[in-house]
């Protein structure tokens, strides 16, 4: 492939049993493929589209053999079979077969397992896949990401540009033959570490060094305004492909939203971020404003991109657990839970009872502390600097003190294991958890409500701001509290239950305002429901034997049977999914994170248009994103 840098001349010389190249590894495992069984939904699709077009796919879902038909299939699934939401979209590279597979997961809002369908395009970029954004607008960022990472083009996509990498980047980094800077080997563990591990700095030991490589015709010295210029220009002329960008707007015209007719005003482009305290990390919002009113908004992402997924595919299955902590670093254990559940599903193992309880306790405490944090920082964005935020951080600190005591770390907990958890609670720690859940946190939430819920300034600033209807939220694949604040009671804990959530008595709160105020209130209500779960879990956990926290023998070299799975959990931010493909080896063949923060940002544009600049900050805060998970 032209975009990959040449193989290192000095790579490990002839070895008796070299690690098979990825392509070979995959080809070798090929015979073990099992075809998915046809479900009623798949039969319906097959009847409608015919057998030639639809085939059972390896392992899961079905294959749309003609990529050109993907959008029709999506439309059929949405309108006839009521898969209203696109949960996940990603791609997998199979160099041995010279194809890239684009994978879609669609869900019913009413619940149930997601339906998976796929299509395959050759790796040479000759075939474009019709974009499903007209059917599922939530695909916008995901398709851009697939384009960015795999080089799959999507026809009729409104804005197909790189999203996480910059424009001067050459190559498709998630393809199996792409070698990153400081590349050492396809899979860990690396042979150089033991038994002859003389330490050598990365820059001295690898031939790949910084591995910088520009696309043909790209001059990094000339890179000042060109790609950004395109971005700005498209925003100013309204040619960035979105229907919503009010194409009739042209600069200086008097038809602009929110401007009195007859008044000639100039619209200007303002960059907020990437280094801006309001963006909760390194996120750049490019806004076109007319006075104080936002008329268009574009997000520029990727400042925190480290290719988590590539790292994940180099890692062994076990190595990935601590890395998931770094996704949404506010709720590390919620991420771990999603990942271990996905791997357990593929390995066909079950954690012990006690481990299930401990996981639920940790996940719900994580939800509470994350919501405390989110609410505190929305208040910051509103201009109530730090007084409320610090009150809630005080409470959150009590929770993460407990995390630290149990797991050893306040945020990077690395607590879950396949088939169990790393440590049991001691009786004192359980007592502390009970004290928090039964005494301290309920009071703190009451106090939070007294402090904020009736506050007239907060209401004036947030009611009706950043509104998004239920239909648009679903279309944009918005999940988590923001979706539930728009009137859709969709929560994975109920919609597609995992772990032992089916045992607990709790409600999925739902509000109908769809604005920033309801996104705040829904979090308060969810904290109370989490407390309900915690109360039950802490009462029931004593019925399980102490210390029984690991099913089977603790191992470090897991082999996961060939197959694939999409497992999802409800984190405080929304639906977190892991799409994993195994070729039967020690490392994932594909490790994809369906990140709710990232996909929730899809809807940001529509929420902010017509609002004031100061409100954009609040709307972003109400989405509660964490850039570690957005950029991955």
């Amino acid at each position: 492939m032209s975009e990959t840098t040449p193989a290192p001349a000095t790579a490990t010389p002839a070895k008796p049993a070299p690690k098979a190249a990825p392509a070979a590894r995959h080809a070798e495992k090929k015979p073990a493929v099992t075809l998915a069984t046809m479900t009623p939904e798949m039969n319906a699709v097959q009847q409608h589209f015919g057998e030639v077009l639809i085939q059972p796919a390896p392992f899961e879902g079905f294959l749309v053999t003609d990529p050109a038909k993907v959008r029709d299939v999506a439309l059929f699934l949405r309108d006839q079979l009521h898969f209203e939401m696109l949960s996940n979209q990603t791609a997998v590279d199979y160099p041995a077969e010279n194809v890239i597979e684009v994978v879609y997961h669609v869900s019913h809002i009413s619940g149930g397992r997601p339906l998976c369908f796929k299509t395959r395009v050759p790796r040479d970029e000759s075939v474009a896949v019709p974009s499903v954004t007209p059917v599922y607008p939530g695909a916008e960022f995901q398709e851009r990401e697939i384009y960015d990472m795999y080089g799959v083009r999507f026809s009729e996509h409104p804005d197909l540009r790189r999203i996480l990498m910059w424009e001067g980047f050459n190559g498709w980094p998630l393809r199996k033959d792409w070698k990153e800077a400081y590349y050492e080997g396809d899979t860990k563990p690396f042979d150089s570490r033991w038994p002859g591990g003389h330490h050598k700095l990365a820059e001295e030991r690898v031939p790949w060094a910084d591995n910088v490589n520009y696309p043909p015709g790209f001059d990094p010295n000339a890179y000042v305004s060109n790609p950004d210029g395109n971005l700005y220009e498209s925003m100013l002329t309204g040619t960035n492909g979105h229907e919503l960008s009010a194409p009739e707007i042209d600069i200086g015209a008097d038809t602009v939203v929110g401007v009195e007719p007859g008044l000639k005003t100039d619209q200007i482009i303002v960059n907020m971020g990437p280094q801006h305290p309001s963006t909760h990390g390194v996120l750049r919002m490019v806004v076109r404003i007319d006075g104080e009113t936002i008329t268009d908004l574009k997000l520029v992402l990727g400042y925190l991109h480290r290719n988590h997924e590539k790292i994940g595919e180099r890692n062994t299955w076990l190595h990935n657990i601590p890395y998931t902590d770094r996704l949404d670093y506010i709720c590390g254990m919620a991420n771990e839970m999603g990942y271990v559940i996905a791997v357990e599903r593929m390995m066909g193992i079950q954690p012990t009872e006690r481990a299930e309880y401990l996981r639920v306790i940790m996940a719900e405490l994580t939800r509470i502390q994350s919501h405390f944090w989110a609410i505190g920082f929305v208040l910051n964005d509103l201009g109530a600097f730090y007084t409320p935020a610090l009150y809630f951080i005080t409470e959150r600190d009590l929770i993460i003190d407990l995390f630290e005591a149990v797991t050893g770390s306040r945020m990077m907990c690395n607590y879950m294991r396949f088939g169990g958890v790393a440590r049991d609670f001691t009786p004192e720690q359980l007592a502390r958890a009970r004290e928090l859940v039964f005494e301290r946190i309920p009071r703190a939430i009451d106090e939070l409500e007294r402090l904020l819920s009736d506050n007239e300034i907060i209401k004036a600033r947030t009611i009706g701001v950043g509104y998004m209807s239920a239909e648009r939220s679903i279309a944009y694949s918005l999940t988590g509290p923001c979706l539930r604040a728009a009137g859709v009671p969709y929560d994975i804990r109920r919609a597609d239950p995992y772990s032992i959530y089916d045992r607990f008595d709790f409600d999925i709160p739902v509000l109908y305002g769809g604005d920033v105020y309801d996104r705040y209130r829904i979090r308060v209500l969810e904290m109370r429901q989490s407390l309900r779960i915690l109360e039950q879990a802490l009462n029931q956990i004593d019925q399980t034997p102490a210390g029984d926290i690991q099913a089977g023998k603790k191992a470090y070299n897991h082999r996961v049977p060939a197959g694939q799975t999409y497992a999802r959990v409800e984190t405080p931010k929304g639906e977190l999914g892991f799409y994993l493909v195994s070729d039967g080896g020690q490392n994932p063949w594909r490790y994809h994170v369906r990140s709710s923060s990232f996909i929730n940002l899809n809807s940001m544009r529509e929420m902010t248009i017509g609002q004031k600049v100061a409100d954009a900050v609040v709307i972003l805060g109400s989405l509660d994103i964490v850039l570690g998970e957005v950029d991955r």
């Binding site: 010389p13 038994p195 076990l318 005080t394 630290e404 005591a405 007294r450």
Partner: protein
């Protein structure tokens, strides 16, 4: 909704409560255990409703026993040697691959000796996950509790070699009393088992070397040290 402004007043009452509670807490502690119970403990108590500032670095929060930061190697104070057998498990489970081990080989027999010759942890890369300590079968590597590790240099200071990594087991016992107790409790049984196993192994090995002296460099050292090209 009531009168405009009542919501704000309600909120302000919360702020006022915090303000008053902070002084009440101080009074409580003045009367009872001034200077006995330090502020950090009050800050960590769910019973405290005031606002507490821990004046780091003069005061520090107490660390829980499980707290983990860069690992260290344990030296057996009885034998004076490393507990590490250079089995390489920690190097394999280390997610960012920051552990480097050179195994010792016996100069005569060319067989691996269960002790590391060199042992490095690149602490700039270590992610403090604790896997090495968790999966080491010999309790030879443990997580440290030191956290003020900033330094000016990157190579001498941050790439820890065996000497700088090694700490006596008394240190381990002091910072991890529970873990140490578990180790001690297991030790008797373990040692017994190990001794028996070793005896059996020695016998078997003796029989094997006697039977087949032609293949001394059997499984363990089959990899011809694939070090980076010098």
């Amino acid at each position: 909704m009531g009168l405009l402004g009542t919501g704000i007043l309600k909120g302000l009452s919360v702020t006022l409560t915090h303000f008053i509670n902070t002084y009440l807490e101080d009074l409580k502690y003045l009367g009872r255990k001034a200077g006995v119970e330090p502020r950090p403990l009050r800050r960590q108590s769910p019973k405290n409703y005031g606002l507490v500032t821990v004046e780091y670095p003069k005061e520090r929060l107490p660390l829980p026993e499980n707290f983990r930061n860069i690992p260290f190697l344990v030296r057996d104070s009885k034998t004076g040697g490393d507990k590490c057998t250079s089995c390489g498990i920690c190097a394999k489970v280390c997610p960012p691959q920051c552990i480097w081990i050179v195994r010792t080989t016996d100069p005569v027999t060319k067989r691996p000796v269960p002790a590391p010759k060199e042992f490095y942890i690149d602490s700039t890369i270590c992610m403090n996950c604790g896997y090495c300590a968790e999966f080491c079968p010999f309790d030879a590597i443990k997580m440290n509790i030191e956290y003020e590790l900033a330094d000016y240099g990157r190579i001498q200071e941050m790439i820890l070699d065996k000497e700088r990594l090694t700490k006596p087991d008394t240190y381990h016992a002091a910072i991890h009393p529970t873990d140490w107790a578990r180790e001690q409790a297991e030790k008797a049984a373990e040692e017994e088992k190990k001794r028996q196993a070793e005896e059996a192994k020695a016998k078997a090995a003796a029989a094997k070397t006697a039977a087949a002296p032609a293949k001394p460099a059997a499984p363990a050292s089959q990899q011809p040290n694939a070090p980076p090209q010098a």
